[in-house]
Point group: C2
Chain length 202, copies 2
């Protein structure tokens, strides 16, 4: 996993991954903070991330075996849109809140009954927002069997997606990232243990 | 403008452009509705749109003459992200509402004092949301002198951006689009006149 090693160092050195005491949107506390939204400011790193995601999907699913990419704004959308451009695949996206004017709808893009969509998101935490999107996509008649995320926080998303019949795939996860940083002597054993403990609580 | 002709027909035939009676988010009535969010569902059309935008920026600005693309979610972000991937340029984006958790900030991505950014949006109406983003970008110390939109509704955006010292560029506008459809006998003279009247009121 040469990519993970480089990606981990990149995230850490640029402040996209911080270790300390943070409070998540769910109210839970976390001993690290991660935000992949910074990545698109580094175009070569961004391209590398998107190309690695492309390779993973190619190996595991194959780009001829689904109809459209699907994403949730905004973190996942930046990645999905770049991937759509690169692979010449259609892209639809789910609004978290349908807009209140114009033609109100919660899915942007063209869909049809039985259309096979591949979910793309940046970071998986509890999987809540992905499950909401999957439900909206299924209600609209599309078929969702697989979801790809760049980074898995290992806080239950895989399990909750599985209960929706969706297999979650990942480019990497917080343990891999932290272990890689620890190997490179960029984080201490204490931090690594703290992250492992946090993950094991889930 | 071979692209505009094809793009106009594409939008009209796929329901991304509708003529009738609509109410905009501002409360104003409009004799047409347009939404470019559908375009990414048609990957070849989407690529063509992005490549045409790339060519226009190349001719008028040059990709070496600015530091980063900047965009507003979500319509503009899909386009800006694909353009960033294709041209290997950095991308930052402005949140309309800063998130309430984690590290609160209204600009996503890396910025520095004096950084020259090029605004990208899908549709220009009154220019309100673009001006808000431009103000946020300027307050953060970046320099904004040019903004690109795919489609100009010709409802005052150019003027309001000009008052902020930003030149607005467009791939096309609603008059060009409707004229092209009229020439192709896809819309009536009555509709064309209605659109021309609506634009002249602004």
């Amino acid at each position: 996993m040469e990519f993970v090693k480089e990606f981990a160092t990149f995230l850490h050195q640029n402040g996209a991954l911080k270790f300390g005491d943070f409070t998540l949107s769910s109210g839970k506390s976390s001993s690290y903070y991660i935000d992949l939204r910074l990545v698109s400011s580094f175009p070569h790193q961004f391209r590398k991330m998107v190309k690695n995601l492309q390779d993973l999907i190619s190996e595991e699913i194959g780009f001829d075996n689904f109809d459209s990419l699907a994403s949730v704004p905004t973190g996942g959308l930046v990645i999905a849109s770049a991937l759509a451009m690169e692979t010449v695949k259609p892209l639809i996206y789910v609004r978290t809140k349908p807009k209140e004017y114009g033609t109100t709808k919660s899915i942007e893009g063209k869909i049809h009954q039985g259309m096979k969509v591949l979910m793309i998101d940046d970071v998986a935490t509890t999987g809540g927002s992905m499950v909401n999107s999957i439900k909206i996509l299924k209600e609209a008649g599309t078929v969702v069997t697989d979801a790809y995320v760049i980074l898995n926080r290992l806080e239950g998303a895989e399990k909750i997606l599985d209960s929706e019949g969706v297999k979650m795939h990942q480019l990497t996860d917080i343990i891999e990232i932290t272990e890689s940083l620890h190997e490179a002597s960029l984080v201490s054993s204490e931090i690594l243990e703290k992250i492992q403990m946090q993950v094991n609580q889930n």
